[in-house]
């Protein structure tokens, strides 16, 4: 009897999205999907097409070609159901500074069709999530930058969208607010809300994102989990051993025999040991070194990350772009 494969619900499906501004091709045939409850990171340098892609996914910009489906419905500027499935959190503080947090949320909630008691409950709920329930009646222009960003996020999740699009939500915020924001986004993922997240901070993408897409020059040049991307660029875990015994052939043979080790290279400082998983290999590796009476001056683990992936794929660091 064949095993039945259960496909996760797809909340967002964009297919060959293309958008041109004059002669400039801003987005060139971008396709990807986001499953229910999945957090998808969209990484790319400035001018790579992230904001244009987000604008098309949020229904603000009409693509020249290609399609967007949200919660199974095609997205057009007039498709109300599809548009209600998205909550947009722009990079800028897209709030009215002269209104209170609650007044801003009431305004955006009403535009999303929320009314009365339900609207009031949602306002209380999202302010609770972002840790600002006690500041509901304070004006936005009295808030710190981090608090404004938190209300900015609250406004995006007010109407319980199936997909929240967050465009660099932690730019310029203090560490406390940043943690609060990341915690809130993790809560969303846990509640089954899909998240599309763009950031310049690789550690945020590594912490939050189930999968990552890398945009460069308007094209999606790579996509997958962090492990898949790492393997795609040929990066692997390294254990760097500072030892004067690097020329000892017996030692090298003993290291190669350790399970998980995929290669050994001699360097001026000692040995660079490639492994499938540095953390699990570390114990047996130290045992092998000790057994050979090798002097260990130092040990360093280097695990490939998204920064290395980005560098490998585009030839430049994300924060330098």
């Amino acid at each position: 009897m064949p095993m039945e494969t259960v496909q996760p619900d797809v909340v967002l499906r964009c297919d060959r999205l293309t958008r041109r501004f004059g002669d400039r091709l801003a987005v060139d045939g971008v396709s990807f999907e986001i499953a229910r409850g999945e957090t998808y990171g969209l990484l790319g340098p400035n001018g790579s097409g992230k904001t244009t892609t987000i604008s098309m996914l949020a229904g603000i910009l009409v693509p020249d070609s290609g399609t967007v489906q949200l919660a199974g419905k095609p997205l057009t500027p007039r498709s109300i159901d599809a548009k209600r499935a998205v909550g947009l959190v722009p990079q800028e503080i897209a709030l009215y500074q002269d209104l209170t947090a609650a007044e801003n949320l009431r305004f955006f909630g009403r535009l999303q069709g929320l009314r009365g008691k339900n609207l009031q409950l949602r306002i209380s709920s999202v302010l609770e999530v972002v840790g600002l329930a006690d500041r509901a009646d304070d004006r936005i222009d009295e808030f710190s930058g981090g608090m404004k960003r938190r209300v900015n996020i609250a406004a995006g999740m007010l109407h319980e969208p199936q997909l929240i699009v967050l465009d660099e939500p932690t730019v310029g915020v203090d560490p406390q607010s940043r943690n609060q924001i990341l915690d809130s986004i993790e809560v969303l993922g846990g509640e089954g809300v899909s998240v599309l997240y763009t950031t310049h901070y690789m550690e945020e993408a590594e912490r939050l994102c189930d999968r990552v897409g890398i945009l460069d020059g308007g094209r999606l040049i790579a996509e997958g989990t962090q492990a898949e991307l790492v393997s795609r660029v040929g990066e692997h875990d390294l254990v760097i051993v500072d030892t004067p015994s690097s020329g000892d052939e017996v030692l090298v043979a003993a290291i190669v025999a350790v399970v998980g080790v995929t290669g050994v290279e001699s360097t001026t400082r000692g040995l660079e040991v490639s492994t499938t998983d540095a953390r699990s290999t570390l114990g047996p590796l130290v045992a092998a070194l000790t057994a050979c009476d090798a002097e260990i001056a130092g040990l360093q683990l280097r695990e490939p990350n998204l920064e290395a992936v980005f560098l490998g794929l585009t030839g430049r660091a994300l924060r330098d772009t």
Binding site: S55, A58, G59, I60, P77, I80, K83, R84, V86, G87, L88, P90, Q91, E92, I93, A94, L95, Y96, D98, L99, E103, F107, F108, R110, L111, Q112, G113, A155, G156, H159
Partner: protein, 356 residues
């Protein structure tokens, strides 16, 4: 529904905004109060007009004699001996204007001239109207006017607080209604517009909602000037229902102009600058700065082609002539048509700008 939500939010923001309150309420009121105090706290402006009968003709003599005995609450008449004295008295401000009857050059007819002082524009306008009525009656062989009531301006109650209240309120309407375009462009800059449009709200709802909010604020501001000048200075604006309709039509007209101007801007700062330039130009043409009679003839003829000039003329008719709604009906239609036409073009341009 989104349109009303947007309008209500912007109205609330307007009522909390210091600059909106100053532009819509405080500044026009303060300027109207200043003008009211300058012209006294009575309901009327009073001034005198001098007659110089250098012609000593059978036509000029009776007219001057009759007029001298026919002063009213607003206007008094005096006789002066010659042109030089009249010029000096007008320049000194002792009389607001002078009408000089002289022999027509090279013939037996009557020559008429008016000496004015820019500081007394209303006196100048009245004097020119008297001279014009006399000249018309002489040319057509009709009965010359012998009483102030016979003249075109006869019986008018020249209410300065009403005139300048309306004038200043109209002047500042350019700025207050210009805030709609500025607000839309600000929303684009902060990407608040993106957030709004990512939901089930159309760009048209945003644009019209914002114009509606500033229009309501502007009507409230204008009405405040009306009520306060009436209560403080006893200003007579005329038939209240007609005044209300004219205020609404004026706001629609100027909101249309301001939106049209805003349609040429791509940033809030540009919108503010353009609004200031257009306000200055139209106010000059429309007579908001110069008073009803102080502009050169060429500019006065252009006045009717500006929405503010046209509105000011209608406010003057309501106040001075106690005109009815019927007599300003064409102006109401013109103002609303003006506002809708220019406003539509402005909205289309703004839509293109913020939709890019």
């Amino acid at each position: 529904m989104s349109l009303l939500t947007i309008a209500l939010a912007d109205l609330l923001r307007g009522l909390r905004s210091r600059s909106a309150i100053i532009t819509s309420f405080v500044a026009p009121l303060a300027m109207a109060v200043v003008f009211g105090l300058m012209f006294g706290s009575t309901s009327s402006v009073s001034f005198s007009i001098a007659f110089v009968d250098a012609a000593q003709s059978p036509v000029s003599g009776p007219i001057v004699e009759s007029m001298l005995s026919d002063a009213n609450e607003s206007v008094s008449f005096v006789r002066l001996d010659d042109l030089v004295t009249a010029s000096e008295r007008v320049d000194d401000g002792e009389v607001g204007a002078a009408i000089v009857f002289d022999s027509a050059p090279g013939g037996p007819g009557l020559g008429l001239s008016v000496i004015e002082n820019p500081a007394s524009p209303l006196a100048g306008q009245v004097a020119r109207s008297i001279a014009s009525s006399v000249a018309t009656s002489v040319e057509t062989g009709g009965r010359p006017p012998t009483e102030f009531a016979d003249l075109e301006l006869g019986g008018r109650d020249l209410s300065a607080p009403a005139y300048f209240g309306a004038s200043m309120a109209i002047l500042l309407l350019f700025f207050s209604t210009g805030m709609a375009a500025q607000s839309i462009l600000e929303d684009r800059q902060t990407r608040t517009l993106d957030r709004i449009l990512s939901g089930p709200t159309t760009l048209w709802s945003v644009l019209i909602g914002k114009v509606l909010a500033v229009a309501v604020l502007a009507v409230l501001g204008f009405m405040t000037v009306w009520v306060v000048t009436t209560l403080l200075f006893g200003a007579n604006w005329g038939n209240p229902f007609a005044v209300l309709l004219l205020i609404i039509a004026t706001v629609i007209a100027l909101a249309g102009v301001a939106t049209f101007v805003g349609g040429f801007a791509s940033t809030p700062q540009q919108a503010t600058t353009l609004t200031a330039v257009v306000t200055f130009g139209l106010s000059l043409l429309g007579g908001n700065f110069t008073g009803p009679a102080d502009a050169p003839a060429a500019l006065q003829s252009l006045r009717r082609f500006t929405p503010n000039g046209r509105a000011l003329e209608a406010f003057t008719e309501l106040s001075v002539d106690a005109a009815s709604i019927g007599s300003i009906a064409i102006t109401l239609v013109v103002l609303v048509g003006f506002g809708l036409s220019f406003g539509s073009i402005g909205l289309v341009r703004l839509r293109r700008t913020v939709g890019e």
